[in-house]
């Protein structure tokens, strides 16, 4: 198998905890230098998979290869390529931010000036310079996440595994964090990031992996998911006056259907229509005496896409690729 452009290859992974099957027959690749999102509900098997990839847990079966090294057969070698950021972790008492990073730099084998330089680089990247002397256990959640990201970067790993890194962050910290992730991708790092907040991942990921009950149920780009594979284009129409007028107008058109009725309008799907000619549809609406107050193309939300995939899976029992 050619693994040149994949940094990580996961094959037929299984993990059970007693009678509970956490991960079942899971296979995927992480393309080198890309940000891959790992999406699933709580308990879907995201953390278990990531922990196995980080060599912190052992699968019952299957293999994980990171940068050409089998994680199970040579974990200490594989760990050199892995930067791991868990969903929750405690910090140390009586230790400053600088000392915290310094400790990990030492533990990764850096000495002397090289160690100091590495710590300073990481502090610069994660914007921790002003917090250098602050006790590590007194940081806010956002600062702690930056520190944890900095720690996972100390040994300059090729792969970053980030488990729910934005959980519990305020909007400003989330934006900062997204920015850092994109910067890392820009530096050529492969980032594998999990979340159950789909919109968050859509903005920063090149590829998305959907997992449910330990199985991979979909793999594709955020773009393809948001547009979906349903025919036609969806438009949200808001009007002044009774919504029934709009529904009647749609009912008369064979190429349109109401997807969802809303308080002041509806979400309408137009089949066989060129988006460039949509102004004609708007004109027809106005000509029919419907007072349109808002008219815009609406992309599917990722949440809807996820639910749709789950429904399809229940109906067909086969995972999908887009």
């Amino acid at each position: 198998m050619n693994s040149v452009s994949s940094l990580a290859v996961v094959r037929d992974l299984h993990r059970s905890f007693g009678p509970t099957r956490a991960v079942a027959n899971l296979s995927f690749r992480l393309p080198r230098g890309q940000v891959t999102g790992f999406i699933g509900a709580n308990g879907a098997g995201k953390t278990t998979t990531m922990r196995m990839m980080a060599s912190l847990d052992i699968p019952n079966a299957g293999s994980i290869e990171i940068d050409g090294v089998d994680v199970l057969e040579d974990p200490s070698h594989a760990r050199r390529s892995i930067g791991w950021m868990p969903d929750t972790y405690g910090s140390y008492q009586d230790m400053s931010v600088w000392e915290y990073l310094d400790f990990f730099a030492r533990a990764f084998g850096y000495t002397g000036i090289e160690r100091k330089r590495r710590v300073d680089e990481v502090m610069d990247f994660a914007d921790l310079g002003s917090l250098s002397d602050r006790p590590a256990d007194t940081l806010s959640k956002g600062m702690s996440q930056r520190l944890c990201l900095g720690r996972s970067l100390v040994h300059d790993p090729a792969l970053l595994i980030l488990d729910e890194p934005a959980a519990g962050l305020d909007p400003k910290a989330r934006i900062e964090f997204k920015h850092l992730v994109r910067l890392l991708a820009g530096e050529g790092k492969t980032v594998f990031i999990s979340s159950h907040i789909l919109s968050e991942l859509a903005e920063m990921c090149d590829t998305l992996l959907f997992i449910d009950e330990g199985k991979l149920i979909h793999e594709g780009t955020a773009e393809s998911l948001m547009h979906g594979d349903a025919p036609g284009v969806a438009y949200a129409v808001e009007i002044a006056g009774p919504v029934e007028h709009l529904e009647e107008w749609v009912a008369l058109r064979p190429d349109a259907a109401v997807i969802e009725t809303r308080k002041h309008g509806a979400l309408i799907r137009f089949d066989h229509i060129d988006p460039a000619e949509i102004s004609g549809v708007l004109k027809q609406l106005l000509d029919a005496g419907i007072r349109v107050t808002d008219f815009h193309r609406e992309q599917r939300r990722l949440e809807d896409a996820f639910v749709e995939i789950l429904e399809k899976l229940n109906a067909n029992g086969a995972p999908s690729n887009t």
Binding site: N60, P75, F103, G112
Partner: protein, 488 residues
Amino acid sequence: MDSTGYSEEQTRDASDWFSPILVKELRQGTRSRAFVWSFLALHTVLLLLIITALLTAASPHSNYDQVFVTGFFWTLISIPLLLVLPGIGFGGLKKELDAKTLELIFLTRMTTLRIVFGKWAALVIQGFLFVSAILPYMILRYFLGGVNLVDELRILLLLMLGSLCLTAAAVGLSSITSKAFRLGIIIAVLFFLIQGLFTSMAIFYGARGLFMTFGTADGWSWLFLFFSVPLFIILMLEFGAGRIAPPAENHALRKRLTGLVLLAGGIAVYFGTNGSWWAPVVVAIPLLIICIEAVNENLRSYGILLRARRAQGKRFAAPVRFLAPGWPGGVIFTALVTAVYLALLLTDSTTEPEHILALLTLSGAILLPVALIRLAAPDTERGFVFFVLIQVIMLCAGICALVFAETTYFAASGFFELLPIPLLMLMLGDHLSGSTNASVNVMVFVNAISLVALLATGMTATRRTVATTSSAHPGQAPQRQPLAPETP
């Protein structure tokens, strides 16, 4: 050469020569409240004590006062060394496990043994700080008179060795997160302190009395002490490291090898002292811990190690299977240790049947519960919990047996004498209903049947593990899902 123009050696600072975990622990430890307050309190009380000693030096009861001051002095020094530092150590790994910070260290180049060793070494250095801080007070007491400096230094040495062992035990045991176990350990330690050491120390003579007894010991005792203390420390640190280690790390080998070296040391002292049993008996305590842990080890670890070794073209050689991780290896190890002790007993002319019965009862108390567990659930990963449960049941049966033995002769002689722990309790309580030889025969049977059952189930379980490990995909797993082709 570094980009700054210096060689790597020149750019290193002193702390680079130490383990990262030691540097971290020292940074944290010397700033911790427990250390700072203990240090300040010790100095304050020692200062008051010396002032008191100076003031009472000229009184007619001077001798009595000096004895009291000596006892109080050593008691004070014992508190940080034997209580505070092990107390801090007892929280060492637990804190990290609770905060999930250990996993972050596992991903570095640190091995679990280095982590545990670093934690222990940091506490030892803090202990040395305590000791070096009290030296001026020792010298002051010398000038007050009535102090034999050589004796005092010997006591200090023994106190330090005691501190090293207790701290290692505390750090090792800090890997236990179960509240019930931790509470049990704390109660046991408090009981020991109240009943033994500190009662005698607080009253007049202090640690001096206890350690002076050892000060008169012969050369073999000293030799055995210096031989066994490092091994005990390694064993306790390995115990902690093994409990926190990822399954792919092999800690069974080092623990069992340490046990065998201790056993060899005990046997050497036995022969060196013309058949004195104290060293083999002392060694039996850590060996008992090793055996109990070994027979309850999960086989999963063996499978994972096997896979890694196979990838490197290695395997576990058959003659050393007793050192391989997993309960089947542990059973063989336990049987081997029992056989060595049995051989020693049989070659000793002073051996009584009770001694053989005691040994077989102890090994039966380990093997029988494990046999029951593995016959019922060969692959269970909760073997130790069931083991403890069976031991508790047997202990209760033992108590019942003793109660019956006091009241009804026949009730005690029957069923209870078939079970190891009740039999041991009846034997120790001098309530054996039948002859000792008959009981020995019963225990030989219990051991033999348990061993046969364990070897049979162990072979099957090992084969199953090997089969599972040989392919990355076990038989019970669903059909292989093909990977999407590589995108250019």
